[in-house]
């Protein structure tokens, strides 16, 4: 009986998480377009609904009902697989992200996370890396010049930032003594307990890595519109195309912002000023601030070349993250 109830609870929770993420991602596109508009001194979507509020719905319906073109010379299996490979792992990272402490409603204990495993961070990293295969497959399977260049560029960038990202996460893990995201949050007590005060180097490296992983502008070499037509997704149309930006730009950025918030800004912790839902509101406020930071960077900066990105990754970010591990280790040893 207990197994059945556990399964039911897990299924309901997963459905809520996935549907919520879908809706959130749709409206994140509107936020991005509004933000981009105001950065460039124009209003952004304005006439579809009140201040463009129905724009994501119009876009989604149109993209869903477009003709689904599959060019003749593509590798059919990989071509279909690629958009799913990009999308599914990106949304699976949600499984390990805790949104708050367990709360009691009507006598039921509700845990606002799907699972709390002691290798949560490693799992998130693994899913993030699998998600990149979608991009590389899309580039390869399209059998076309520009997508392939985009996919190979992404592969080159991936090798660079993934190492630095892994090493940068070691700092907070050492301080918390656990891979579980929930325990990392619980290790950060109070305003000055947040790891951002102790791990600024790791934070810089992780900002770089998230920008590179989600293909946001200073490092968006895989779909550089000025050079490659539309990058790795040039040959995709309809919803197969729609899944790529949704996965990379919105769900990916959102989920990785959540992980950065958990690692450095104390997750859902904050003063209890919003009543019972205070942890959720603090968590989403912080994640939203991180997301807006990435948007700000995206719509302000020009693009690096791919060789410059790998150079930054290997020559600056990797030594920085190793230095961070070294310093953290010495401080932990001295303080005991």
């Amino acid at each position: 009986m207990e197994i059945i109830s556990t399964v039911v609870v897990l299924v309901v929770k997963s459905l809520i998480f996935i549907l919520g993420m879908f809706l959130a991602a749709a409206y994140l596109t509107l936020i991005e377009r509004k933000f981009a508009g105001h950065v460039q001194q124009r209003p952004g979507p304005l006439h579809v609904g009140f201040h463009g509020l129905l724009q994501p719905i119009a876009d989604a319906l149109k993209v869903l009902t477009k003709e689904d073109l599959v060019p003749n010379n593509v590798d059919k299996v990989l071509f279909y697989l690629a958009s799913l490979m990009a999308f599914v792992p990106a949304i699976m990272i949600l499984a390990v992200i805790p949104f708050g402490d367990p709360i009691k409603i009507f006598g039921f204990e509700i845990k606002p996370y799907i699972t709390d495993i002691n290798v949560g961070l490693i799992l998130a990293l693994a899913f993030g890396s699998i998600s990149i295969y979608g991009v590389i497959f899309a580039g390869w399977a399209s059998n076309s010049k520009y997508p392939m260049i985009g996919g190979l560029r992404k592969a080159a960038v991936l090798i660079g930032y993934e190492v630095a990202l892994g090493f940068a996460m070691v700092g907070p893990i050492m301080m918390a003594g656990s891979f579980s995201l929930r325990e990392i949050v619980q290790a950060q007590e109070g305003f000055f307990g947040a790891f951002i005060w102790y791990q600024p180097l790791a934070f810089i490296v992780i900002l770089f890595a998230i920008l590179a992983e989600t293909g946001r502008t200073p490092f968006d070499v895989q779909e550089a519109e000025a050079e490659l037509v539309s990058g790795y997704n040039t040959e995709y149309s309809g919803m197969k195309f729609g899944l790529f930006p949704l996965a990379e730009w919105y769900i990916g950025t959102f989920v990785l912002s959540a992980i950065a918030v958990i690692l450095f800004f104390g997750g859902w912790k904050g003063p209890h000023i919003f009543g019972a839902f205070s942890p959720f509101i603090w968590f989403f406020l912080k994640v939203f601030m991180m997301f807006m930071f990435f948007l700000w960077v995206h719509w302000t900066l020009p693009r690096y070349r791919v060789d410059q990105i790998t150079e930054i990754a290997w020559k600056v970010m990797l030594p920085l993250s190793l230095l961070n591990i070294f310093i953290t280790a010495i401080i932990i040893m001295v303080k005991g």
């Binding site: 009902t65 073109l69 037509v229 195309f241």
Partner: protein, 173 residues
Amino acid sequence: MAITGNSGIILTTVEEVLSWSRRNSLWPVSIGLACCAIEMMHTAASRFDTDRLGIIFRGSPRQADVLIVAGTVVNKVAPMLKLIYEQMPDPKWVISMGGCASGGGPFPTYSTLQGVDRIIPVDVYIPGCPPTPQALLWGIIQLQKKIKEKKEGKELKEIPIRVPTESKPIKQI
């Protein structure tokens, strides 16, 4: 497919919603052929801002709905333009921007295509040389009206159907 009454509830609602969504996110291909393209870029930029209407330019024809033929179509570029049109997924529309694309404009010569409607079907013609951003926005709004009217099974009255004519000055080569 003419829908006369409003008897069918579900069908008309679906068509209405789809037509609404299509006319509110018309994504053009970013292809420019001549000076009209400068005005087209201008329309997408800050002052006129097509993103207000939900219009963003896509690089790849596979992800686009509208082909704005902006500029002189010479015979050499005509096959490429036709290829791009054929690469776009249905439903797709074409806006012929400016005098050159609509009918050859000031180039009645052997090397210029006398109107892009000789190779691809055109939905809206925009006059001007080059049309101002306001004129392009007018054309886009005409297209939106046309999509809306087509859903109701009516022809748009404002735009006369252009009868293809012989191109006058082409001399025997």
